[in-house]
Symmetry: D3
Subunit: 297 residues, 6 copies
């Protein structure tokens, strides 16, 4: 009996195959998991005996989580909605890494076409990979149009193969490269950690989810942040502290030379460009920036 | 005379070509050496004028160290034994990196075959790259069988080209992929730093070996460990300290706000997953994990 | 009017295409810039709205900076001089990374040829990519020779297609691989941050240059340096401090156990090999080396 | 007016992107067309000013031919039927080249599962890329089951993600590699040359189609055939002729030496292995096999 | 003496490195030479002991042929003229293969710029790899402009880095891809077989050149041509013969069945598309197209 | 019983993995077999149900043919002898393709070493992959030396890791590239078709071998030969015929214009370079060279 029970004590976790895969692998590694993708296998190996992984397309993830084939999975909110899947959303995993940033599903037409807004698309052909999202969007705007499923290369279809498209873009570069004009944003999407509703209600699984998320979110929090150590003359300390961002409480330790104070803090990497010159002006010396792996608590 | 002497003051070091090469390069880099592999050359360049490197197959390393062609080299203990080479083993370099973990030479047969143990292989054909190790193993078990040298692809030989094989495996995936069944482990092996016996007795070379090993082992010690900094309320300190692993003595420094204490320690990366939630529960805040490069002393 | 002004408030920055490109990208990333190279575009995207980047061959950079097409750019001093370009040199960006180290333009002939010095090349054919530098060098030595522009593969030209060459080398390996003998060094070169003279005189641009250089040089300063933390018995402190390099003032903090002192400092990575054994001998324990990202002030 | 007319005198031809693309390119080349695929363009260039090409997924081809966006296209009959497209089928282009041979859409389940026929799939989940074909097939067999669109990797879905699949196979190797068992063949498919119904009725376009097909089919006819030339003693001629396949009328020419006859014929390449030894036995000498490019008429 | 003479009996032949290289290799192979390019060597091996090959950039070929370093070489007429080299042109090797077709050096400006003709470029900056050709062209048109040597990526320079460019194009696709507008064609160029003037006057070398050219031109003549064999009813022969192109005299042989005639001829591949339907209409049957390797005489 | 018999009616054929593999695949294709190498499988698929293929290293082929695991195989005579295998050699398959030409096992030492002949190697260390061949060679010359098995990169071992080597060379380029000097040729080797002795005595297998060899040798015979068709004035026929190589009996057919004769023949490709100019001089016109696929009988 206990053997059976211990068997039940495993999570079946879906990892997204395709554009999200490489970054998901990196996220788990940063979070402290050792994840191996054996060639030609759909069953990644993870160094946590309580987790069993399976590679699944982002498009199909929510369907299998809803059916209970999977306890949880990572996929974009776009595909959750396109599938109309009833799942429990545990966390937004947006992170400053390729394919983990916000993506936009854009309604676009060819540059130089006369379509100015979604209203002008009445009766036209719209090609998209997200047929349901597009139909819902059109309904909301009271526009009837023909929505055709696109098997790929959607961005090259206007104007010959479609009048308009709804296509996804992270940086906008495929929009520009194909000389398209954006009419509207249909949906913004980020990667989410979703769970099956029954799984989310199971106490053992719930606690397992929470501990996993602590690690995943700790790694995401550290991304885009850095540590700063510096020596500050005692009398300059207030002027230095007032420019340090509020979020990280600076650690202030005494030094042997009691005219100086050591300050250690965590700041967003993107403010460093503005912060360092200011710190130097205000008297900080020996400023050392160092990388972080995780931030928790 | 001094020219001759200064010539003698160089180590000739063999680095393993093949599966161990990439990780060996990484190990030396982490240890603080700058190692360059010029294309199509067998003489890697190292930024230590007292060391001369040469790329040699792991299979042949021990032979050349024994002959004194090399002062020292890195190779698996498996090949040292297969060659029956009389060399001085200075250190085990097992590390948590690809090909530097423990590998196993496994006696295996085809799934579904009727062989149950080595005893059943009497008179059968066994294909292997390690003919001597296999013969010694069979002798130990009192089994006579025909051992054939395999030039490669050993794992696909059963059942047509061989009845059994002795083949090496790090993760067991080639065993599974070829539907083999393991009968026994013939040898476990890790990479070793080996030296020629005369070289190991030479005072200058001995001291050089020790300093090199301090760096190499410092890098290995840091792999799989991380630094943790955190702020702890003074009254929670004992409860936090009791869950920190014994091995790294935590550094405890006073803070400006005397209700809080800064704790800095080193822990194994693999315990972080369990440790972080516990630390948060026990009152630690602003926990920052940061990467390490070397641990010594 | 303000629109015009705000337009003027952008720097046009040339980044070198080719051998310097990958390292330049890494340098900007380490300096805290997010730089993207869209495929097939010559306009890298940078996350600073005040900078507009353009990819340009190192050979042509100085010409366009001089003309004012660019406000600033990164290129080798060799190409600045070859073009005879009148530009303002803001900083030497030599760094311990591939292609950012010092390179040498060498006058070389075939091994076994009878040419012993530049004097012997009177009337001979010299192939080179830097025709002007070579002519200036020959003039300085009072030698008349025929200097031919080489479109590439200069190093294979002697002895059939040229009597001598002036070619660039970072490690000397192409010199050796082609059995050439070096007669002289024509020029040593490192990457420079150069600016147009008018741009360097404009107050807004000048301040922008300074802040960029603080970040770029902070990243270069961190390269090849590491942080060291260690615990030292109080009585051993002087002996430890006297072997720590002068350049980084060590931070010395009190510990809970008042017989020990925590020391934190920054040292050049290349001295670590010699320093660590010494520190251990002098009583330091728990020595941890950790990576740095930037050093400023 | 004539300008407008001459504009109308172009065919818009869809070429299949993806698995059929490389072989389609080869087919057109063998048929005497010069077809270039500019990188990153969806508009291949062809050296016939009366044809304009466009790359389109095989899955979407029939839809666009039906709508009249294209005059004609090449795609599998499977996708014509899956789309329920009303188009004119001009020719079957099955040929002995990769992806141009007959493919089969197979209903398959996991080896070892208890499903024996389609009847056992009542109420089960079937994953497939051809939802409509599968539903029609199930209807025909009076079976109700849940058919789910599969975005890819269909063959790895049983037994966890689906109970059965309908997937395509040319050689059966993915069936074997994934340990699946075939229950039935849902559809056999070959590439077809399809035309829009109005285009097929237009006299100019009709004639253009016929001439194109003469070339395409001439190239297909030559594939898998070879020419044979041989010298035969006059008296052996009947015995040689009776083993030559009927389809190619052999050309029999007189030779200078009137005891011998030259025979020239075309045979299927696959019979050559059996034919050559027989011809030698029957007296033919100097048998030369040579390659063909096209067979017409 | 004879040893010296036999040494003199070798041609030193320059083969173009770069865009012409692959097709040159193919041309020599089709011409019956076995040409090997050892990796990293500039000395291709050829199976004619009287020829010694050397790989040289097309840009530099004419210079070395003029100097007599090479007896002969293959390069474009564009680079012959750019170098102002005095060499003997033995043959035009234009052929229907990539990079052996006619290329054009085009004067181009950015689409949307106001430059309408070369006259508008007075005082402007023109970037080009062919500085001398461009200056000569401008002189001819009486236009003074600044011509700057471009190290590459010339096509992306307008409008920022140059006002106009002179760049080479085989298919015009880079012109289109960079949104350029062509003002004029500066030069049309094809590959030429050039010889040193003294070499061309040497009887032994002259005869060697002639025999090489017979083979090279035989291979070029066969490219783009095919053989056609067909059976024709005797009474239809005149109607068939009148549509066969004049250039290849058809071979007409008697057949066993004296109502039929075998016709064998050579035609340009590009007319086959039009010819085959016509031949069928006029009674030809069993038309077989076959590939050719060389046409001579 | 018949089922069992029909099972026995299959040949198990070993194809060489490694350097011979690609050319072996080409040889079988030219011989009219359709051979597919499924990725990661050691069982190539062939379109002859009477043959079962298996990929085996050339080094191990003879061992398995001797044991009867294979009926026949293709491997070099060098490995047959190194293994001392007792097998039946059916044919020499030397052909003018990479790795199918004659290779030489050479005894070589470092350029500049004082070894002049095998006699000088007494007591020295010789590294080689063919230990048995080398020992037999040394015995024959009455020289005792230490022969060490080399796992690879044999050519870089002198002078540090070995005094001499016995290594294989097809073109001699690795000898030159590593600055070695050849002392002697130990063995010349070509690929052979070998059979198990029992298999060669079995009538069904014997006949199967003969028919396979007819095809394989027909393809080899065609390699390096071409067909020539030409028109010759009747009166010039003798002068043309006397320069045509004896081996192919030319086919001479009458033409409509009875002043001319059509000549069709087969010649070695390598004589074409000399033959064509001569034929033109002697009156032949419209000479067409065409490729051949097989020559038999």
């Amino acid at each position: 009996m206990s053997a059976r029970k211990s068997r039940a004590r495993r999570l079946r976790l879906g990892l997204p195959k395709g554009s999200l895969q490489a970054t998901t692998a990196k996220l788990f590694e940063l979070a402290g998991y050792n994840l191996r993708f054996p060639e030609r296998s759909y069953y990644p190996e993870i160094d946590d005996p309580e987790i069993e992984c399976i590679l699944i397309r982002a498009q199909e993830m929510a369907r299998y989580v809803e059916q209970g084939v999977l306890d949880a999975g990572i996929t974009g909110i776009d595909w959750v909605r396109e599938n109309g899947a009833k799942v429990h959303e545990l966390a937004d995993l947006a992170a400053p890494w390729p394919n983990y940033r916000t993506v936009r599903w854009l309604l676009a037409v060819k540059e130089g076409s006369h379509f100015k807004s979604v209203k002008d698309l009445r009766g036209k052909r719209i090609a998209t990979e997200v047929v349901n999202l597009t139909k819902a969007y059109l309904r909301k705007h009271g526009v009837r149009a023909e929505v055709e499923f696109s098997y790929g290369a959607t961005e090259v279809k206007p104007p010959i193969l479609a009048d308009a498209i709804v296509d996804v873009s992270e940086t906008g570069s495929s929009i520009r490269a194909n000389q398209l004009r954006v009419l509207d944003t249909v949906l913004e999407s980020t990667p989410r950690f979703i769970a099956n509703k029954d799984a989310a209600a199971d106490p053992w699984k719930k606690r397992k989810f929470e501990r996993m998320l602590l690690m995943l979110q700790g790694a995401i929090a550290a991304a885009g942040r850095v540590g700063l150590m510096m020596n500050v003359p005692k009398r300059s300390l207030p002027r230095v502290l007032e420019v340090l961002p509020a979020l990280g409480t600076p650690t202030i330790s005494a030094l042997a030379d009691d005219q100086w104070i050591a300050v250690n803090t965590v700041v967003a990497e993107k403010v460093v460009r503005e912060l360092l010159p200011t710190l130097v002006e205000r008297g900080a010396r020996g400023i050392v920036e160092y990388p972080l792996a995780k931030i928790v608590g």
